[in-house]
């Protein structure tokens, strides 16, 4: 009797686990099917064309791709040094009394729903950017800043965890040779935790590039490639969030699907790279 129960249990968990694989394949298939029309009609032009004018049946995804890349890049430039600083402080420098309250509040920040970052950005950052840098305030720059604030806590927390894996005995060995705190951080802790740190950056990059709610409020959904960072812009998820309800023609609808397929592929690639780094780390350790 108990053998049968074991078997049923094993098979049912197997079923659930395999269904996850199906889910991924299913999502891919649906996106692919719906993108077919746009792929056939537009071909490779879809990713090189800069004009997005649904009323003229022109669908160029380049401005959205450009916006996704630039806003994410801005966010990374701003967030990486801050995240490393916070992580170094928390793992190596902070007195025990500060470690846990600061650590916990960083984890709380990471749990804030992104729509709240978006609203906060719209009401707080947009006026600041407008007054400081000119323009209307809704812009690529604002999106980059809001994104950086959103990914900072996650990056800092994972980087800190990676740094905490450095064995005490390794750090002590460097101190025993006459190293200062700074020497030990720079030569031992950071190189030791490198894989984990890079992994956290790539995961954060993946989050930033697919982020929708935090940037939809502040980016502007303007399909135009502009080198001026204070000009409004768009990104793939921003376009999707803004335009699905307006898609009145089949080709419009299909090109939005192709855009989402593109985003899925980009995110997938990024996460795979990050996983590769993390896995390599755990195998060594």
């Amino acid at each position: 009797m108990s053998l049968i129960i074991d078997k049923i249990f094993a098979h049912s968990t197997k079923l659930v686990a395999i269904s996850v694989l199906f889910l991924v394949a299913w999502i891919f298939t649906v996106l692919f099917q719906h993108s077919m029309e746009s792929m056939q009609a537009l071909g490779f032009d879809f990713v090189t064309e800069t004009k997005w004018a649904p009323n003229l049946e022109k669908f160029g995804a380049l401005p959205a791709i450009y916006g996704s890349i630039v806003s994410t890049f801005l966010a990374m430039i701003l967030a990486v040094p801050l995240a490393i600083g916070v992580a170094i402080f928390l793992s190596e420098l902070a007195p025990a009394k500060l470690k846990s309250p600061v650590g916990v509040s960083i984890e709380l920040l990471a749990a804030i729903p992104s729509v709240i970052y978006g609203m906060w950005g719209l009401f707080y950052f947009v006026p600041i950017i407008r007054d400081t840098f000119g323009g209307i305030g809704i812009s690529m720059l604002t999106a980059g800043i809001v994104l950086s604030i959103m990914i900072l806590p996650f990056m800092a927390a994972v980087t800190r965890d990676a740094m905490n894996t450095t064995p005490d005995i390794l750090k002590e060995s460097a101190y025993a040779l006459g190293g200062t705190k700074w020497d030990v951080i720079k030569d031992i802790v950071i190189p030791y935790a490198k894989a984990g740190i890079i992994g956290s950056f790539i995961l954060a990059l993946g989050r930033a590039i697919g982020e929708t709610m935090a940037v939809t409020f502040v980016m502007g959904n303007v399909h135009k490639i502009s080198l001026d960072l204070t000009a409004p812009a768009t990104s793939i998820p921003v376009t999707l969030a803004n335009e699905f309800t307006e898609a009145d023609t089949d080709l419009y609808y299909s090109s939005l699907f192709e855009l989402s397929l593109l985003l899925l592929v980009i995110s997938f690639t990024i996460i795979s790279i990050a996983k590769f780094y993390f896995l390599r780390r755990t195998r060594v350790a």
Partner: protein
């Protein structure tokens, strides 16, 4: 009171009325300890787990200062000064008193960079000097032949015994006067262990050595002096040859004959 043999040689270190209390502990882990350490010889510290031998060892290079709240009392004299004062320059002290740990601790860098690390910390940048001193340290640590063709390789690719000899090379490259060994062979196989032991004996020509060990045979094989510690006190310090044959204290005898420990 402890039985302490008269040391006729010059002393490398002298512990006087030393007490040590860990942060958040009510009682000191080491109580009123007096102990001379002879120069250019090997002093082994033995005793059951928790007797304070590693705690004492880590006081010699002020390793305890890395963690807040630990307290020292009494004196440890090194070159006629008390190294337990707050004025002591810890960076400089740790250059002169090196340490080898229970497990090999190769840094995440190349073999060459591992050995050069201590010198680089001191600001030595001259390539020829670095090359010469790295080679000399690796030779002195009896590992030069094995690694000379792969100095640029990652040090973590070496075996455990090789890594431990690399750590010794790294420690002697900065030319310390005292070397502290904290159970240096506890993670190694018997062959690597005897390699390290031979090396330790060879090293005493240049440095004074204190070695903490759980292995009484090891203490008997390598050391000139042996100190037996129990419950935070030094029970007996004597010539190794004499102590393992005719211990003066009853506790020492019981410990080395395996009655407790």
């Amino acid at each position: 009171m402890a039985t302490i043999v008269d040391i006729t040689e010059e002393k490398a270190l002298e512990v006087k009325n030393f007490e040590f209390t860990y942060a958040s502990a009510d009682e000191p882990s080491i109580k009123k300890l007096n102990m001379p350490i002879a120069k250019n010889s090997i002093t082994a510290l033995i005793g059951p787990s928790g007797c304070g031998k590693t705690t004492l060892l880590r006081a010699f290079n002020r390793m305890h200062d890395l963690y807040p709240g630990n307290e020292y009392a009494g004196e440890i004299l090194f070159k006629n000064r008390n190294i337990l004062t707050s004025k002591e320059d810890l960076i400089n002290l740790r250059i002169q008193i090196g340490m080898i740990f229970q497990k090999p601790t190769a840094f995440p860098m190349s073999i060459f960079d591992n050995v050069a690390y201590g010198m680089k910390l001191q600001g030595i940048k001259n390539k020829t000097e670095l090359n010469d001193r790295v080679e000399k340290a690796l030779c002195d640590a009896a590992i030069w032949k094995e690694v000379k063709d792969r100095l640029k390789h990652d040090a973590n690719g070496l075996s455990g015994g090789q890594q431990q000899r690399l750590c010794i090379a790294r420690a002697i490259a900065v030319e310390p006067e005292v070397l502290l060994f904290d159970e240096p062979t506890s993670a190694l196989d018997p062959i690597s262990t005897s390699g390290i032991e031979e090396l330790v004996i060879e090293l005493k020509k240049k440095v004074s050595i204190i070695i903490v060990t759980h292995n009484m045979q090891q203490a008997a094989r390598v050391s000139d002096y042996t100190g037996f510690m129990y419950l935070g006190e030094l029970i007996e310090l004597g010539y190794t040859e004499e102590m393992f044959v005719t211990p003066k204290e009853k506790l020492t005898e019981e410990y080395i004959t395996g009655k407790f420990g």
